[in-house]
Symmetry: C2
Amino acid sequence: MMTLITADISNIWGILSLPDLLALEKEIFDAHKQLQTHTGRGGDRLGWMTLPDSITREARADLREAAARIAADAEYLVVLGDVGAQAAVRLMATQAKPRLLFFDGGFSSRAQRNLEARLQDRPFAVVVIAGSDMTTEQAVSLRALKLLLERRYGEDGAKKRIYVVTDPSRGTLRKLAASEGYAAFSLPADAPGNFGAVSAGGLLPMAVAGIDPEAVLSGASDARAQLDIRSFENPAWLYAAARTLLARKGFRAEFLGIWEPDTAALGRWWQALFAAAEGKSGHGMATAPLQYPRDLHTVGQLLQDGPRTIVETTLRFAPPSQRATIEMDWQDAGGVDALGGKTLDAVGEQAAIAAIEAHADGGVPIITLECGAPVAQTLGELFYFFQLSCALSGYLAGLNPFATPGADLYELQLGKRCGMLPR
Amino acid sequence: MMTLITADISNIWGILSLPDLLALEKEIFDAHKQLQTHTGRGGDRLGWMTLPDSITREARADLREAAARIAADAEYLVVLGDVGAQAAVRLMATQAKPRLLFFDGGFSSRAQRNLEARLQDRPFAVVVIAGSDMTTEQAVSLRALKLLLERRYGEDGAKKRIYVVTDPSRGTLRKLAASEGYAAFSLPADAPGNFGAVSAGGLLPMAVAGIDPEAVLSGASDARAQLDIRSFENPAWLYAAARTLLARKGFRAEFLGIWEPDTAALGRWWQALFAAAEGKSGHGMATAPLQYPRDLHTVGQLLQDGPRTIVETTLRFAPPSQRATIEMDWQDAGGVDALGGKTLDAVGEQAAIAAIEAHADGGVPIITLECGAPVAQTLGELFYFFQLSCALSGYLAGLNPFATPGADLYELQLGKRCGMLPR
């Protein structure tokens, strides 16, 4: 079976050996089996695994309808929550309006005022995406936007412009939606937040931005089918195994270099996914996304010659069907005449090889991921690929990848300090 | 003497001891002295140290004039290079037009096409910022934009819309500017690129965005004066010493959590500065910027309970003079009624304390930096503070912080693969 995403680990030999990898085969088989049979840690939080195929036709129609309503009503959609949607929108939004504002203003008066200035005299709507609990920031931002909407459109008008995606039955946000009559969509109760990129929480904002949810779901669904391979032909096995073995050898950081601009949100999604899943009991790697080739000129120095405890993972998209050619110039402006006539993508391919050659020479273990062109289908595949790789990595480390008790301590502490009731 | 930026290292005790710190006093004194007397490694690349006060009145007037010309001519200014300017513009651009497009499309046909679509029917100008050598990507992007301008405005019209900031005498870009007659500004020949945030390279784009270069320079100049303190009252000493001692104890990563949105570019500037300066001979920490409180809910898990080899540095801005208050609501939408009547900033302060309490409980060494409100003056201070801290850190590690021979290997390799002459 051909897989959609490929993982090339040929640049880790020397640091790892083939016997190292083969010795892990039984462990990763067991990890994969535990996931599929719900017998591992956090086995009640595996809703994300079937998500690509479990969203009903009716739920999809509801999402499309809501997206159309927002598009008709609003010039701006303020999104509180979900970096997965942001990853998709930044890379491939197909329409200019409504414009999506992913707001994470935290407790900044400056950011709040800038947002309000931007919304001045512009029709807008709000979508809040949260599991059973909102963060304090989300609750505070929602309140401010709700009051702004009420003053502008009256209480009833405001209610029609707030959309909620949350736990099907529990939590403050569900209760609020019920009492206020907000349009409400469901996140699976059994999927942790970071694993919800292809849930309604991700798909609603994407649909508003003109990204077809069916394409994203179809990519995720294909990945789900193809990543069921139970051997090292499975790129998720290769990726999880390589990074696990490197972590066991003492590697303590993983940089993901993405060869495409406008992927900062995708990188952040990846960073958050792995950091939250693996950062437990003294385990986990410091994850940090980079953009290539931009960051090769600066952070590349650290990779090339810094401490030998950093894993470099690179991600390349296939070139799009329409490619741009580097033109010849009458005079050689900038000393790059040798590139005249080549497509940008052909030079990009050489650049990726050049970076691998340079870093491999420096003794850096490099995992190379390749996927399709940067379109919705590919992003669906990538979401699923990384989620599965992350779950496998977590199980290989003996952890529950789906709980974040450590991250909750901050929120608890804040609640105590401010006299808030536990939500 | 009161310093503008404070560094609080009270949350590293337990991992480091006061005697550890005091034992470093002589080393850091020597490092500082080598910087000031140009007797350390890379002593010929210290132009950044005097930059805040060495840009002539005439050069400043030229910058202002160029910025005014761009504003009159263009709706968009495409900026090739300089993340320092991007940091300032994202945080505090004061005018909507011209809009700045920081383009780092690399070799992506998709990004190049999107840029061209955006510039369609819109008057635009281009500024290229590079030391003696452009990167290959800059040269390729400049060529495409130059041809686009020539087709639209003719050769002479194009020449008037391309601005260059580069080495005063050497390199392709300087040569090109001379032969084509582009308006050209100078980067100090003796300052490395990453240390040029308050050079003309940073200041020209800032000025176009309505940020007063004088305010940025004045902040940097104040910092220069105040960070001359030769004791641990100097926050740059404290910051450099704490991270150096932690690195010596085996810490391998440093996260910078910035308590303010729209600071991704500032974070990237910091990350690049330290990674490029320190990532040498097996030394250096994996640097990664975060945005707080957003990332506390995900990456916070890794900090709280992951490997004890991560340093957490946090940066807080003082609240602005105009603050937003969290309103009361008739019904408690979101369970945050306890916050009603407080300013966002007051809650933000509690959140910052909550995060420190939680992470300190988890045994994380935390360095807390505080600076002024997010205005141009403060950013000038921060640029200088981080540059000085970085130079001190590099000297403490016995490195030349101002050279990046490792990062250049990638570019060399790419040149070889594509048959380009060394530029």
